[in-house]
């Protein structure tokens, strides 16, 4: 029988079939952060339980950590207690944690692949919906709630029902300035934020194969914004090259054995999917969201749509409410939208490739006067170090960007980095929900190059047509 990549990943992790439509699924890697874990550790203690397999866990604080003045600790006492609680829990249960002063600290979804702690063929979970990111390496990775965090800690397993399978094929030659971010936003525009609900998505086709592993991570990261708990890409030579030599990756004889196994992590050529969606990358352009849901998105050459251009009545109401919240009028060209802040960072777009793309646009230019704050938040201490070696930090600082310490930062604004009511932000993050970046804040999702271009011009601009010339 032919199998999809998802079938293969699922079947190799079934501990037992419970006979009621659910299976006990083994989890190879569990990532832990400060926000969704304290109640799980408390549950373990109350039940007198211990982690089943300590070495399968890797922890780091990311959501709450400050991105400035790290040496002064966390000033918010509530946030500090949460980060300290993670530290205490990791010490008590002997779980490896990259603490705030460790160069390896960063956003869980950036540090795990960076360390080789995410490997092809793994099942990987974390109490965070963007865990789908790790599927880029041919792993089955999905977000869980705190009860399931406790369940994985205690049993190394989860009770799961197998999802349906969806294949999203993106074919064609990728146009200039169209990135993994633009591809996933175009997919969400097509299938909607609930389009992937109940499915595990495999992304395939030439445009996906042409993406770097980092681009594939951006793509899989936002599978959840299409409603799918898991997104994945088949293993190819890029995957194997990416993993090789990383601290947690196997080496020597074990490496050869692993690689031989990983080469099977592709869907059989005639595998059957429950649903197949096809897109042509050649018709895509850099994307910008205009509303309060990632499906409210259009190309940079587009306009803010009118509510009555949507057929469905519930959708029309949603668009009307979104435009009111966003302070936008229908038919406004996207390029006419002026901004207050720019955020380059998050588990979607804070890897070295993202920072290089933004820096390339910012180089020799200046942030526009109307931009109150343009900030770059690397995804990890190691990304930051690499960027500084390449002197990207200098490019950003010279252009008027702030260069910050790693963490989730203004993607969800749990720390001090947030929008004020009414402020409009070009953001490389993943959610443009009401209040996501601060109460009353208005978020437009874009790629790193598009965010940098918007910072320079003060409004959205097609990064391929920038008129602001590079200064010597």
């Amino acid at each position: 029988m032919t199998k999809t990549l998802y079938d293969k990943l699922w079947e190799s992790h079934v501990v037992r079939d419970n006979g009621d439509g659910t299976c006990l699924l083994y989890i190879d890697r569990h990532l832990v952060h400060e926000v969704t874990s304290p109640q799980a550790f408390e549950g373990l203690r109350l039940a007198g339980r211990k982690p089943w397999r300590v070495d399968a866990n890797l922890a780091t604080p990311d959501h709450n950590v400050p991105t400035t003045d790290r040496d002064q600790g966390i000033s918010d006492p509530v946030a500090r207690l949460q980060v300290e609680t993670l530290e205490k829990n990791c010490q008590d249960f002997k779980i490896t944690e990259f603490t705030m002063d460790d160069i390896r600290q960063g956003i869980v979804h950036v540090i795990s692949p960076e360390q080789g702690a995410t490997l092809p063929g793994m099942t990987l979970v974390c109490g965070d919906s963007h865990t789908s990111t790790h599927g880029a390496l041919g792993a089955l990775a999905f977000g869980i709630g705190t009860s399931e965090v406790e369940h994985v800690l205690a049993t190394q397993c989860l009770v799961q029902k197998k999802s349906k399978s969806m294949l999203i094929k993106v074919e064609g030659e990728t146009p200039e300035a169209v990135t993994g971010k633009d591809i996933i936003l175009a997919i969400i525009e097509k299938i909607g934020t609930a389009g992937g609900t109940g499915y595990a998505i495999e992304f395939a086709g030439k445009a996906i194969r042409d993406l770097s592993i980092e681009g594939r991570m951006t793509l899989c990261n936002m599978a959840i914004e299409a409603g799918a708990r898991a997104g994945m890409v088949a293993v190819d030579d890029k995957t194997i090259d990416y993993v090789k030599g990383r601290p947690y990756a196997p080496s020597g004889e074990l490496w050869d054995k692993a690689v031989a196994d990983w080469k099977n992590l592709v869907s059989d050529s005639d595998a059957n999917f429950d649903k197949v969606i096809e897109l042509d990358v050649e018709k895509m352009q850099p994307m910008v969201t205009w509303g309060t849901s990632p499906e409210m998105v259009t190309g940079i050459e587009g306009v803010v749509p009118a509510a009555n251009s949507f057929a469905d009545e519930v959708k029309q109401d949603g668009v009307t409410a979104a435009l009111e919240y966003m302070g936008l009028k229908e038919n406004t060209p996207i390029t006419a939208i002026e901004l207050d802040k720019v955020f380059i960072g998050s588990c979607t777009n804070s890897r070295i490739e993202d920072l290089r793309a933004a820096a390339q646009v910012a180089k020799g230019r200046k942030v526009a006067d109307n931009i109150k704050l343009a900030m770059v938040v690397p995804g990890s201490g190691l990304v930051k170090q690499q960027a500084e070696m390449e002197e990207l930090d200098k490019i950003f600082i010279d252009a008027g960007f702030e260069w910050r310490e790693p963490g989730c930062s203004m993607c969800l604004a749990m720390n001090a980095d947030k929008l004020e009511a009414g402020e409009r932000c070009a953001s490389t993050s993943n959610r443009n929900f009401e209040g996501r970046q601060g109460q009353g804040g208005r978020t437009h999702l874009v790629s790193p190059a598009m965010a940098a271009a918007a910072a320079i011009e003060g409004h959205f601009v097609d990064v391929r047509k920038m008129t602001n010339t590079v200064q010597d």
Binding site: Y26, T193, R229, P250, L412
Partner: protein, 214 residues
């Protein structure tokens, strides 16, 4: 987890699609290391006129009179009727904790986001999927009748309306069993310790690089 058998009570409408978990419980309240006490901050940004922070006395904050849950007719509601893709976004289990702490035991919608749907069952909340037409009818009936109530019976998988109509709903057999009996998932999984150990032993042979990953 508390057992859930039948739920009868006032129904509140949440008439917008894609209600995300950021709206259900805003991020500033996720700094808590506890599982309880989120109810007063459920839908905080819609419910109050000021900006909420943890530790505030919520009883003295200005409420938004236009927000549906602040209307007198929906006070004491324990059933929520919502639109498509309810609970999308962040995996935060604080969302079902807040809904439960507020008093909601049943949520009815045409569709739910997967992680939220799953999190509900882990906390003694029953999420029910009905067709968009059935949900639409409920919205109309709630609007028309002040004090509109439903009776949800999990064992028979039925919802009884005030006019005597009965709607049948589907629920996964295992999840139904757990809800009715208030069962702890972890305890049940640990009944299969031998299976987990046997899997690990076999897997260690097949894929040794997945073990001793420190």
């Amino acid at each position: 987890m508390e057992k859930l058998n039948t739920v009868e009570g006032i129904v509140a409408p949440m008439d917008r699609p894609n209600v995300d978990t950021d709206a259900i419980i805003p991020k500033q309240f996720l700094k808590s290391i506890k599982r309880s006490g989120f109810g007063p901050n459920l839908f905080d940004e819609w419910r109050y006129l000021d900006h909420g922070e943890p530790g505030m006395d919520n009883s003295t904050r200005p409420v938004n009179p236009d927000f549906v849950l602040n209307q007198p007719r929906y006070q004491g509601a324990n059933i929520l009727v919502a639109r498509e893709n309810f609970g999308c976004g962040s995996s935060r289990e604080h969302a079902p904790w807040a809904l439960l702490d507020y008093g909601f035991k049943v949520i009815i919608a045409p569709s739910f986001a997967d992680i939220f749907f799953n999190n509900c069952f882990k906390n003694g909340i029953l999420p029910i999927i009905l067709s968009a037409e059935e949900v639409d009818t409920l919205f109309t009936e709630i609007e028309k009748t002040e004090g509109y109530q439903l009776k949800v019976d999990l064992p028979s998988q039925t919802i009884s309306k005030p006019n005597g109509d009965v709607i049948r709903f589907e629920v996964d057999a295992f999840r139904k069993h757990c809800l009715i009996n208030g069962l702890d998932d972890i305890g049940m999984t640990l009944e299969h310790v031998d299976d987990i150990k046997a899997y690990e032993k076999r897997r260690h042979q097949e894929a040794p690089w997945l073990f001793n990953q420190e």
